[in-house]
Symmetry: C3
Subunit: 273 residues, 3 copies
């Protein structure tokens, strides 16, 4: 839609250019747009690092709210499993340790984000891009979005603070279907469970959401930032502890036979998520 | 309806008469009725103090349950903004400090309330009268009730323990629309989010609710009080800490330019909530 | 249905035979079936002890998931009130103390359960069999199931960690109707409140649920167990403290006049739950 920031070689915002993201600031809104549409916006190591930097810059700039969305049909297909195919000199132990540390810093950037963070979920979301939604302040989704966290299918375990925030939000009986048993949620289901604030028809999604966001961005900036920090501050320490525990568990998982075999099956086309 | 305690110069309860409230005890139910109907039951400094006292008395009397409701079309339009127009000798700093301390004591009275507290929401609710509902045990609402917390619009921040209880109850994605972005909820929406226990048609609201309350008031008194205290006791310490943090943040807000300008605009009719 | 483990004198699982339970292991699923159908699966002292033992064995066996369900029309009618009619030599104080300690150990077995625990709720559930569902990972219910916790009606107070988990799951306004005011929930209502994961038509309940459970049981075992332990570990300490507080309160209640009179009325047919 006309509301979406144009794809520009020169960003309108802080001037920083990224390889995997489109970042711009307009109307008091900084928009971080995942930009690997041909790869369904799967998150590479480079993209994790760029997202951490973009969030850091957005937290400090003059914008009132920050928006995260995806370019193309997908919002984000999650962790790029090719991240696990480049074994470094230190072997798989080194790979798992580095990946864990990167994930820890990535989730930390969301926990510590100091102003309202709004997700504009333009299509399917998978894995860490779903679990992190619990750390967003508002999440608007098109009706064609889906939410899928196939952790156990890949021999893995939940992250993004979802092991704490999902049961808190929807109760264990619904959270476990999602986090343990790979249940894929429609946008409407995700909204009923509290993961999504509101669902919009695809035809009017961009126009309805962006006109709402522009109104939000005219509200008193400090009032919004300080209110968000008040809400988040109450459980920040807890969230950091959860992040640490999740990363520790997941790092162990990455080195397990169950996980290695599941990922191998995935690449051999034997398993389908 | 016939069920509502009659407006009497002589209260049928403990004998205490209030200026801004109607308080009576009948059928093991103490009812506290906000009684400034021509001001939409906006809460003045006097009314805050009377509510604190009425809750203290109700907590100690022989009633089994306590009911809070409003006289007239509104349940409560929240903090009377005229509270901010009487600058005391100590200046605005003194005014903000006193207002903060009063709010802290007011919310504390709800956190510490020792028996079931039931809200009978007879019409629109605004601001602190909405946020405090998270500290009620049961909330029954007429279909014509609405729930609105325009904090950021007034340059302010959430109170009444809502910064903790609302995200806990409905998840951050829905709580932030309400607490940060001024979303007004219908009674049905508030019920879906867990803020309201059940919504009734306006035509039968009073009769249905009061027959239910009379049945509740026949249940074993100690079993109810001790069960409520068990539930509340688990997070009482946390709630007091949240109340303190919210009051501290709000007191700072009241002295900010953003807030002063927003309130001035409100009185000049430039802004509409 | 054909999916349910056959009733066999020789269990197919670990070989242990119980008086009040049918326990078997098949297709990586250990099923614990309450087996006092003529008493609506009311839990006697013997049954509490057998359930603790069955859970301990299931937690250690080779199965991937553990299922709890009921034999006959009821899932479970809760604590067998006849437990209160056999006064031991030490008098009612001794009886209350022993019953409290047994309950504490029983709830502890659920808090500490190390792999996914799934409830297959085949009919009405009452009392502790409802409150404990907050400690299950997934709960599937037939449409004819109901959920009822008439604690205050019997002069008692909530257990099974429900005083913490129910408000966390559904908000205080809905939890108090259930835990304080004896509201009986339909399966659909329980699902809306997050106590139940999904409701099925009675005609296809067993076949739909068991085909789903068999698929779950083929997922990587360690990934499931470690993910569940991650989720549960975050609040295990809290849950044990809640269990202790609830048992202490309930033990006092059992010795109160309110409770004794309420239970006497129940046996004299004067009160109906």
């Amino acid at each position: 839609g006309a509301e979406a920031p144009a794809v520009a070689a020169q960003p309108t915002g802080g001037g920083k250019t990224f390889q995997t993201l489109l970042v711009s600031t307009e109307d008091n809104i900084t928009t971080i747009r995942l930009n690997r549409p041909d790869k369904k916006n799967a998150i590479t190591v480079e993209m994790y690092n760029e997202l951490i930097e973009a969030l850091e810059l957005a937290g400090k700039d003059d914008s009132v709210i920050t928006v995260m969305t995806g370019n193309g049909d997908y919002y984000c297909s999650g962790n790029d499993l090719n991240n696990f195919t480049k074994i470094p000199e230190g072997g798989v132990e080194k790979m798992a340790k580095d990946a864990g540390e990167l994930l820890r810093r990535y989730v930390k950037a969301y926990i510590d984000f100091p102003k309202p963070l709004i997700g504009v979920i333009n299509g399917p979301a998978v894995g860490v891009s779903v679990t992190l939604l619990g750390l967003f302040d508002v999440v608007y989704a098109t009706e064609k979005a889906t939410f899928h966290t196939p952790f156990s299918q890949l021999g893995q375990s939940p992250e993004g603070c979802s092991s704490y925030l999902f049961p808190k939000m929807m109760g264990a009986a619904k959270a476990s279907e999602v986090l343990l048993f790979n249940k894929k949620l429609s946008a409407t289901q995700a909204c009923e469970l509290g993961l999504v604030s509101e669902v919009f028809p695809e035809s009017s999604f961009q126009s309805e959401v962006w006109s709402r966001l522009k109104a939000y961005a005219k509200l008193p900036k400090n009032s919004l930032a300080l209110s968000k920090q008040l809400i988040r501050g109450l459980e920040k320490e807890k969230l950091h502890a959860v992040n640490d525990a999740e990363v520790e568990r997941l790092t162990e998982r990455w080195l397990s036979d169950e996980c290695m075999q599941a990922i191998m099956s995935f690449f051999q086309g034997k398993s389908k998520l």
